[in-house]
Symmetry: C2
DNA sequence: CTCCTTGGTTAGTCGAGACTAACCGTAAGC
DNA sequence: GCTTACGGTTAGTCTCGACTAACCAAGGAG
């Protein structure tokens, strides 16, 4: 499931975000992802599991290798949260600026 | 400073996100924010400190009360991260779908 | 069949951070 | 002056999760 809670929780950890960003330009196998990261392959597997549960990645097996790629649903959930927030927060901010400038004139 | 790292780290904790969301519709004092939340006021203060360091909120004092409001810079940093990700990730995904359907035809 | 590669799982450790309790400082009202 | 309300800070506890080491399962090559 791709709710905002899980997406945020998944993207918090820097290592996990690094894993996720390695999938930006296309599908990768687990070993490829782990190569160059400062953690062991099992750690990467665990991160991928969390990302998958958050709806951020998708996987398929190809022989003995397992290919991961980005699942747009997760990014969509996050964008929805941000958009919904964007409007009300920014208009509240604008109203506040307005109020402050009125306050100034008094 | 409002870099993506800090913004993500700040918005991870559910309680802290609840604090942040209470500012969505305008400025609030610390006591107001804490009222109704399942944590004590000092905890809210600590959360606000983290949010401030992440560039997500701004504060000013008004007598003995301290008013917090949303700082657009934090949300902007997050939107930048998401946007930059959105394009390449989604086009990579589209390319993958294309590749898969070609694979199908073989 | 054996061997090698790839990768998911489990057990156990260790550090980070969320929280409360107790404190201090400060502004407003009397 | 004294008191009350509002909030930030510190000390200490405790839970959660990131990580490694060791394991197991399965597919491909010979």
């Amino acid at each position: 499931m791709a709710n905002a809670n899980r997406v945020f929780a998944a993207l918090t950890d820097p290592t996990r975000r690094a894993v996720f960003e390695r999938l930006r330009h296309g599908p990768r196998a687990v070993g490829e992802i782990a190569r160059g990261l400062p953690v062991t392959r099992p750690a990467v597997s665990q991160h991928l599991k969390v990302l998958k549960e958050a709806g951020l990645v998708d996987d398929r097996s190809e022989g003995t290798r397992r290919i991961y790629q980005i699942d747009p649903r997760g990014l969509g959930a996050m964008r929805a949260w941000l958009d919904q927030f964007w409007d009300s927060a920014l208009s509240a901010f604008a109203a506040e600026v307005e109020r402050a400038s009125k306050e100034e004139k008094k």
